[in-house]
Assembly symmetry: C2
Homo-oligomer: 399 residues x 2
């Protein structure tokens, strides 16, 4: 081929390829510019019109306030990723994401991640997708395991200082992790900092789950009582075998993420009734609710300290207000302060032996914490106890 | 620049661009090949390991059977898109999607669609994303409104013949539409065909929703009783104004889609208890369940025909089996056959006047259907009654 013709052909090819590449990239990039002020204007191009309509419908007084809040999501798996996506689409101000896993094809049976992201870190893949969905949200991602000494300290620092206004604490911490050790680390951090958080969990057989609101000093922490789960009505022993691959379903995890973020919205934007505990039994479509007072003998000394602070604060409040509050979440004639918000009558509470609280029908404990090892899960030893906690977990699995 | 150097530079540029383009396209395309047989192998690269684990956990006997089923999803909006994604990730055999809307930025407050898809038809955008997520699923999409005459006939034809094996009916139809007319069209089609379907809905104030299983002749159809909604505990009049932009939340829609697909999985794979009606009141975290017998005076003559067929079928069954079935879903001392599956005692049922059935606490009717116009919503007139149905809906909005 003559050189001028060859040059011309190559130049044309470069132009074609540049155009195709630009088109591909346009397709993947965020298709909208940032929006300075949330508007209720009803147009097809307004991503906030259906959220701002909550004001007109009389549900939320001040929806725009969502932009002032920062939420930390620990664990960006089946529940955490959907939780982060829901908050992003709702227009939350800032999200902090913590995870140390990589996306795998084995995660494709749950919502959010896509096969082409396999191999990427979960927090990076999530940040990329979420930024495209809503460029108005600020993201801060940490690709590490919060339970190791250095990381735990950094995690404490970020939830204390990582709000939209640097130096201020986040508004909520959400636990979307899949193991006991990480939950205990979050519990320890939040008890020390007096940080309000919500717990979430899905059973290994994929057919039950729960969410729980923990206000240090006011409601039971994760160390106050054995972790609660919704009874799955199947032989629990089959779930505890070592090395068994846990089952999971996008349905159960989607419902739990939805219940969790709904509770977050109700808590942050002050509408409806915020649930202290809401369970989901998918086999029977049963959703038990309850609330629990903290345990005065809690093994976490920071929880006990927060309980003292709460008592002092309550005592200092005007009388009526205190009574109203007490009636709302505390049940006096029950050592563990369990209150049945609905569904189950007091008579249906059944006694349980040992360190297991009385629980409404349909809720049971995931495992009981051996007394002699209780020091392992207090605040001071979270960092050093890494190996022992693993031992503890192995024991629990064999119970 | 000398011509040889220019040629070399251009050739290098073409190679670079081709590589970049290939990388971009690899990123967007399905990152996995098709999988012939579902395996329970526990590896990071097996997208079905966590689903097949349901067998080991004793929840589902034959999970692989999911691949033999075809489900039609009508309406690919806030609930329908997540419903289709969950079924795709669960490895359903074939999905039929029906919608005539385009993706808009105003949809970004719900899960699934992304800003770069704005302007595309919902069914095409959904098919593209879902194929990437799971190339093992077969898709058939229809970008039309099922309520017009021609489209309604085509819709009937596809649900009668569109299964994996062409010529066989789909296993389930899921209604994820947002209006009365489309629900009535699905109801009419399913009554005529004897097609089992599930209804779903979310209130205009975004804080309640429900799912409902309709087995023609066996449980109440959409025309048997006024459509049921979960009471929202707010002034319903504020919701019925013309031209008001409905509010929506990714949380409520995610929960409703999760409840719906969970019910689909339980129904198709034969585990747990399939719910006839499950409501969701997000303000109080209240989830009422119930079931309802068909109305012998239903305005849809095909519903009445299906009721006769069901009675004959039941009469022909061995005696014990019939009794068991009756006890399961029918409540004898109640005209409307409402059975309370949980939560509410019989005493709590309150009487209602007119064509409104007695309902458990927390459930109310969306609107009542005027008697004199009942012919408009029977099978024979669905196509011709388009304008009149709009008038009917306008009247209902003003009730």
């Amino acid at each position: 081929m003559a050189e001028p013709a060859r040059l011309e052909r190559l130049e044309r090819r470069v132009r074609e390829l540049e155009e195709e590449l630009a088109r591909e990239r346009r397709g993947r990039a965020a298709a909208r510019a940032r929006i300075d002020t949330m508007s209720a204007e009803v147009t097809d191009s307004n991503p906030y019109s259906r959220l701002m309509a909550l004001k007109r419908m009389g549900i939320v007084k001040d929806y725009e306030k969502i932009r002032t809040f920062t939420v930390a999501v620990v664990g960006v798996g089946g529940v955490g990723s959907v939780t982060a996506e829901m908050l992003t689409r709702c227009g939350i101000g800032k999200l902090l994401l913590f995870d140390y896993d990589k996306v795998e094809l084995a995660n494709m049976n749950r919502l959010f991640f896509q096969p082409h992201q396999a191999g990427l870190s979960k927090v990076q893949a999530a940040e990329h997708t979420l930024r495209d969905i809503n460029p108005d949200v600020q993201f801060e991602v940490h690709n590490y395991n919060i339970t190791t000494l250095d990381n735990f300290e950094h995690f404490m620092d970020r939830i204390s200082n990582g709000a939209l206004e640097e130096g201020k604490p986040v508004d909520l911490v959400l636990s979307c992790v899949d193991n006991f050790e990480a939950r205990m680390a979050i519990n320890t951090a939040c008890n020390e900092l007096g940080q309000i958080w919500m717990e979430s969990g899905v059973s290994e057989n994929a057919v039950s789950g729960h969410i729980q609101l923990i206000i240090p000093g006011e409601s039971a922490c994760f160390a106050c009582a054995p972790p609660l789960v919704v009874a799955a009505n199947i032989d629990e022993k089959t779930l505890k075998r070592e090395g068994v691959c846990a089952a999971s379903l996008p349905t159960t995890m989607g419902v739990v993420a939805g219940m969790l973020v709904q509770n977050v919205l109700k808590y942050l934007l002050n509408f409806g009734t915020v649930s202290y505990y809401l369970g989901y039994n998918a086999m029977q479509d049963f959703f038990p609710t309850m609330s629990m007072k903290p345990n005065p003998q809690c093994s976490d000394h920071n929880c006990r300290k927060q309980q003292e602070n709460y008592k002092k604060k309550e005592a200092a409040r005007p009388k009526e207000e205190v009574i109203e509050k007490e009636e709302e979440i505390v049940h006096e004639d029950n050592d563990w302060g369990i209150e049945l918000v609905s569904e189950i009558s007091e008579d249906e509470l059944k006694a349980a032996s040992g360190p297991v609280p009385e629980l409404p029908e349909g809720i049971s404990v995931a495992y009981t914490i051996p007394d002699k090892e209780e020091n392992l899960i207090t605040g001071e030893t979270v960092a050093e106890s890494e190996e022992s906690l693993e031992e503890l977990m192995a024991k629990m699995r064999n119970m």
